[in-house]
């Protein structure tokens, strides 16, 4: 597999692989994750509106007012704040698993799976516990 030799090429040329593999991914994910979060929030609200108006016979205005009541800035803020931390964690988990990835195609799949498990499942669990303890 090509992936591994690319990292070795960095090591041999005495270019620290961290600088070129890890560092650019970190700010990129920290920037993109909140955007993705906002996008998902909007789509969620829009989806809710479709169901409420289309199937539950609510008026759009009613939905809008109720949504404003139900969703506070705390919820949105928490979500966006969490997404920034997620950006860092996903970058770290992805790079960690990616750097240790084996040499064949199957290893790439395994590395991707374990990175997802590490990044999302493990860290989301930690967030759930923290929010629960803080009562927010």
């Amino acid at each position: 597999m090509n992936v591994n030799q690319q990292i070795e090429a960095f090591i041999i040329m005495v270019v620290p692989p961290m600088d070129f593999f890890v560092l650019p991914r970190m700010p990129a994910l920290c920037l993109m994750m909140p955007l993705l979060c906002i996008y998902a929030d909007l789509i969620g609200i829009l989806g809710g509106a479709t169901i409420a108006v289309g199937m539950l016979a609510q008026s759009p205005t009613q939905y809008w007012v109720e949504t404003q009541h139900a969703i506070g800035f705390t919820s949105i803020g928490l979500g966006i704040g969490k997404s920034v931390v997620f950006g860092v964690l996903i970058a770290l988990a992805g790079c960690l698993r990616g750097m240790r990835c084996g040499r064949d195609a199957a290893a790439v799949g395994q590395a991707a799976t374990s990175a997802v498990v590490l990044a999302i499942i493990a860290t989301d669990g930690v967030f759930a516990v923290i929010y629960n303890v803080l009562g927010i």
Binding site: Q6, A9, I12, M13, V14, V15
Partner: protein, 260 residues
Amino acid sequence: MPDDRSVHIRVKGLTMAYGDYVVMRDLDFGIRRGDIFFIMGGSGCGKSTLLRHLIGLNEPASGEVWYEDVNFTTASDEEREPIRRRFGILFQSGALWSSMTLAENVGLPLEQFTPLAPAEIGEAATLKLALVGLRGFEDYFPSEISGGMQKRAGLARAMALDPEVLFFDEPSAGLDPVSSLLLDELILSLRDSLGATVVIVSHELPSILSIADDCVFLDTDVRTMSARGNPRELLANPPNESVHRFLTRGRSDREGGASS
């Protein structure tokens, strides 16, 4: 064995192993400065592993690798750095960085280790790419060009810093006979212009017999090197049966069968 030039790389009692599995033991040879040195042997005999030991990607189970008067095996990362900086390596698959264009691939080592301005780096990268016949492909990504072109681009990157030692891992694997002949000529002209020591892992007989100055033959049967010297002389005067079989593509068996 003529030894008119100084030994550049010396391998002393090297044993290579993956865990308990010994790949090759007791390798002992020197590579003279400016030579084109082949590491040859059958598939899976540990040629690439030996190369990885020479450049420090694998650590020996026992034995040492020396670069002139520096023991590379026991050296710390800081001590290895200046030696590695004079390496140029062409990996088997090219190993170009897939997220960068060819010019960026070639330019990165220059950017890291020379005080050149970005415009000069661009010019230098174009020049190196032109040397391997890739003029006009500066802005292509590795995935957009053919395997042979990737290999040539890898070569351009390997020689970006005018290295003292060039390592090639199966340079002609996956190339057609004509391209691999052109690559051989390129390697020869590079050695002559840079004065670099060239270490090549290969089992391509035409290349071995045409451009090698010296070689070592890794023999899977005895798990160590069983021949050493100029391959043309080895062919004329084979020290043992497995070398003869290798250099004649197994023809010695048939001749033996015909004469008996």
